[in-house]
């Protein structure tokens, strides 16, 4: 091609940090335990936190990542087939979501964004519930207290406040569970995230901020948003931070475990920047080719999170035909469950819109419901020639 230059999407910040010679960035070392070619890289501290990971667990992480990628592909197809109004793909971010999602205890509480479907999958949310809101069938897909994961936040960054507040509640309860907020690179530019970090630090709340730096806030490259590494923003709040390779499931797992342990022991909040890449569009209504250099996508395809874990399994002799078949069968089954569940989802009744507004009876809602009921009845009259 014509030029040999990289695109504007801040690729250069994604090599291990000690090699980066960018004066605008000051960040700590990028921690990587698994190279893009599937080589296991040792690290004096992070290794300790994953020493218990068995071969079997490695295989199950592989399965998880393949399955959530498949969920993502199926949901994207369902949107294109008119079954969903919209879908925000997570393609490329599987390692961050599985590495962090699988580090959690069941009594920890997750506050996710719209893109964190892989985390929701880890929490045990039934897959059809992932698309319920995108289908317009409900305002949200699941009962947060059943799976200890809040509904997905569309507003950018708001959930970080919810997480900090929840964490302060955990302190009041004297429990040792942790609140975990997920957000993207763009959210770190929002007031909510900054306020959440101020409170988290002030109260030393047991909260972990997991920033999935996927390099693009819709069409805005991360380089334009911050002149320092995102992880370095945390130090301004007095919050310890880590930068990990977000396409490396082991590095993310290890970092999340470190942060969770600190929070459980009263050590306060931690900020994790997981460097990953949104390989698909922002949502199914977006066309990234209009603002993104295709070379960038190619660069990141070479760092694919699933391919590198697969390569590690291969190196360790764990990648059998039987494993591949089992993973494929599981992915197929989950995709079918998603499709069937989505297409056969019962339509809500008009009056369902009043459900879940208040947990207790409310006269205003009752009044509105009554008005709406009578309004609906006015149609049955005209449509059926007064047969009512």
């Amino acid at each position: 091609m014509l030029t040999d230059e990289a695109g504007r999407g801040a690729n250069q910040a994604t090599e291990p940090a000690n090699n980066v010679q960018n004066p605008r960035r000051t960040g700590g070392d990028l921690v990587q335990l698994l190279s893009p070619s599937g080589e296991r890289i040792s690290h004096p501290e992070f290794d300790l936190w994953i020493s218990d990971v068995s071969d079997e667990q490695l295989c199950s992480f592989y399965e998880d990542m393949v399955v959530i990628r498949r969920i993502d592909a199926e949901a994207t197809a369902l949107q294109r087939q008119g079954e969903l109004a919209l879908w925000p793909p997570l393609l490329g971010q599987e390692a961050t979501q599985i590495g962090s999602g699988r580090a959690l205890r069941s009594d920890d509480f997750v506050f996710p964004t719209y893109r964190d479907n892989g985390v929701a999958y880890c929490r045990g949310v039934p897959v059809p519930d992932l698309v319920r809101a995108w289908r317009g069938n409900a305002l949200f897909g699941w009962d947060p207290y059943r799976y200890n994961i809040a509904t997905q936040q569309i507003m950018i960054g708001s959930q970080s406040l919810h997480a900090t507040g929840y964490a302060m509640g955990i302190q009041d309860d004297g429990a040792d569970s942790v609140a975990v907020a997920f957000f993207g690179d763009g959210a770190t530019s929002e007031g909510d995230v900054n306020e959440a970090m101020v409170f988290a630090a002030s109260f030393q709340a047991p909260v972990v901020f997991i920033c999935q730096n996927n390099h693009w806030a819709i069409s805005e490259p991360v380089l334009l948003q911050s002149h320092v590494q995102l992880a370095d923003r945390a130090s301004g709040f007095g919050i310890p931070s880590m930068r990990v390779d977000g396409n490396d499931v082991l590095a993310v797992l290890s970092a999340t475990r470190i942060a969770l342990d600190r929070a459980r022991k009263g050590g306060g909040p931690t900020f994790i920047e997981a460097l990953t890449y949104r390989m698909g569009p922002h949502t199914t209504a977006d066309d990234p080719t209009r603002y993104r250099d295709p070379n960038e996508l190619e660069d990141w395809a070479a760092k694919d999170p699933i391919a590198r874990l697969r390569a590690l399994l291969d190196r360790k002799g764990l990648l059998s035909d039987e494993l591949e078949a089992r993973v494929k069968a599981r992915a197929d089954a989950v995709a079918a469950e998603l499709r069937n569940g989505c297409i056969n989802m019962p339509e809500p009744a008009p009056l369902d819109v009043f459900k879940h507004v208040y947990s207790e009876e409310n006269s205003w809602i009752e009044r509105q419901k009554d008005h709406y009921t009578r309004y609906l009845e006015s149609f049955s009259g005209s449509a059926q020639e007064g047969a009512h």
Binding site: E5, G136, P294
Partner: protein
Amino acid sequence: MSRAMIKEFRLPDLGEGLTESEILSWKVAVGDTVELNQVIAEVETAKAVVELPSPFAGTVAALHEQPGSVVEVGKPIVSFEVDDAGAAPSAGDAPSADAGKPGAGKPAGGAAAEPAAPKREATLVGYGAAVEQGGRPVRRQRTLPAAVQPSAARPADTTAPPVVAAPGAGSAAAVVQSERQPERPRSTPPVRKLARDLGVDLAQLNGTGEGGLITREDVQHFAEGAGAPAAAQEAPAAAGRETRTPIKGVRKYTAAAMVQSAFTAPHVTEFLTVDVTAAMELLGRLKASRAFQGYKLTPLTLAAKAVLIALKRNPTLNSRWDDAAQEIVQFNYVNLGIAAATPRGLTVPNIKDADGMGLLELSAALTELTETARAGKTTPADLAGGTISITNIGVFGIDAGTPILNPGEAAIVALGAVRKAPWVHNDELAVRQVMSLSLSFDHRLVDGEQGSRFLADVGAILSDPGMVLTMV
């Protein structure tokens, strides 16, 4: 036994509130067996070009729309014959994501058209307002001048532009033409972009889409100058040990151009290797400077500028041998062609009036040209009218070559790779950044002297950018 049944797939809203999409191409044909989620079509919305995955596994029974047609959301676009037993769900109901939306497709029952009397229907915003004819969501209706307003409501599905009786006789068409475009002509953003790329003025077009909408096809037809009808698209023959691909598109164009050029213009090629260390240092300084922030500066940018400056002193290289007229055409402007490897093959789009551009503007133009070419979206207008070309073989790590002239041009410069090499600098052997330049020119027009002076000028600028002061 299982029973076959027909399932329709209706065009969904592909991007948060779109009312229509254009079918760009079908990836399947009637009779094809498709799997669930197999890509069946490429569709362009006002927001993006997307692929449509099949919602069923089965056989394609009918394609209801032609490529190029703009289809309303909710209209059936393809029918599948589906094995009843094995049919994937997706029941016969309209895609329910649309169901709650105002204006979403009414049941488009079977093949027969049904819009009879407007029905009173429940909506969320009013008391059963009358349904609009055509079922199309209310959209900014562009006002036409009273004189040309179609008398009644817009006819159901007129494909031809409204015919209007004009006063007088013969010149009526022209009058109507100018009158029926009170505002910006109706089109979609991607089509407007296409028109801009092709240099087509939308005001000159009659849209063949619904309600006079100008479609991608209209623009392309116009750009081709009422040229050949869209080439028939037949699938390449099945292959065994060899693959046979019909010669068409860019490949065909390239081949014809190369043959014509190589066998009409007597080529001479000259080489010059220069020490470009100073130019690379300059490049580094410019990149760091505030003025160039956000611009992509490469050796190509500087070399292109050097070529433009050298051309001013050696205009013969910016000319053309017009064999038919038996004239030499001296261009007093430069349309600078840049050879680009694209997904579809070699193309040489050019930057119009590059000689009038500052370095900043030139770098922006190069970036845009590159990106357009990479995206495979270079248009015939981009390719036409070049006056001289550059080919940047250096990006492939190549030093020199004997480039073939872009037909109609008198010169082409090949830029080699910038390499560190041992070089005599200040009478001592030093490691310097070195680059080879190759210049081919049409010897009918350009003599060795002129070609050599031009190449020496380009080399002088790249080895000592300060030399520009002596040239301009």
